[in-house]
Amino acid sequence: MQHPINAPILYIDDLNVWYGKNHVLKNLTFDVFPRQVTSFIGPSKCGKTALVRCFNRLNDLKSDFRYTGKIQFNGVDLYASNVNVTEIARKIGMVFHKPIPFRKSIYDNVAYTARLRGIKQSLQLDTIVEDCLRAVQLWDEVRNDLHAYPEILTIGQQQQLCIARALAGNPEILIFDEPCEQLDATETPKLEATVQRLKSQYSLIFVTNKRRQAARVSDIAGFLYNGELIEFGQTEHLFTNPKNKLTEDYVTGRLG
């Protein structure tokens, strides 16, 4: 975080991604800047998930994944051979479209990530767990049930727990891949509020297929269509004054 605010935290140049013969991302070039919410919108199957999975190297799990182009994280090539993949995954946290709490207590779920980075002292773990749960405003709700299993929580609370768990890894970037898909109407605003609060400390990447949500939460927005980045820029401009006809059709609801 010592980098100047105007240096991109992620630098993507001419990125192409294939799953087997399926060319899922085509010639993507953009930058992600710190302390901002960068959202990606687009219809289903346009490659949003494929894109964000490049950043934390989750695509490596797919045997037929192939890419060309450049992805730099803080100026370092993410796919260089000397890069520590687990370190990258910790620094670039991810929240999935459905909450995936582990079959451990609420406390151990959050402490899991802290332990991964070598923290063992229980006092220190207690502090981290409390801080992370406070950051997602879950602390007051679960402080008496820390050793219960996450099943006692609502889906929305579970998703907040997953955010807290990612925060315990002390990440620099936090990726949200359609985090509200399983949430109901009352829980979605809470998660959006959490995203707004986290913005001051982290760089956030927010994937959604709800245009209004992207307009609400993000500063920068990118519109993906069939694996191409049609338009990328200030959210306000993209929604009110799109340069591209496709973007206009999408944000006005005529497309997808």
Binding site: S63, T86, A89, T113, L116, Y149, R165
Partner: protein
Amino acid sequence: MNAKIMNRSELIYHIIAIVTLAIIIFLFWNFSTDKPHVEGEITSDLAVDDTSSLIDRYLYRMIPILCGAGLFSIVIALYLEEWLTQTTWQYRIIERYIVILAKVPSLVYGIFAVYFIVFHSQKVLNYPLLLIAILLVMPVTIRSTQKAIQSVDISVREAAYALGATKLRMIADNVLPNAFPLIVAGICTAISRILAIVALIVIISNWINSSNIFTIPKSAVVLISSAVIASIFSSILDYKQVT
């Protein structure tokens, strides 16, 4: 609330598992100490006049071998599922063998075991017996461990990797705890198979050596009931995982 209850019942199952295993091992132990044998006599000719000395000679020495085979099965299953991917030809070949061996009725192994112990007792062949025990235990344990590992959702694995877990940490923290009940269930099935075969050996050697052909030795009864207990327990664990 619900989760706490779940947690407690889980604990009870684990306790039951340990207690059952302890009882079974205790039974074995009892047999082996019932009539202490003379060292050095083991590999010499075997007078099959006493069924409990049979158990004494074979089962007692087999327990460590079986424990080893069980652990080794878990390692093999982990290797197959986590390192050899399901699409490679090595995986497919090994899996075929294991499936076939696991599907062979245990009676087939039993016939071999009876043949070697009862009819070849003059020159004791340890290795064939060992092989039979391993063939009886390992395929079923590997199969059930594989199924247990496969039952852990891919999303859980991805979530662990996305937090920066290494593969070993992910296996230790996420796969094994989730799969534990099913793995124990598989080991129970294997134990039950072994016990049933030993009971068969005891009964047949008793028939051959005793003047009264219609008696069933007490030890066989104990063995059969332990086999049943083991399979009941295995099914409890299986059932729990399904619901």
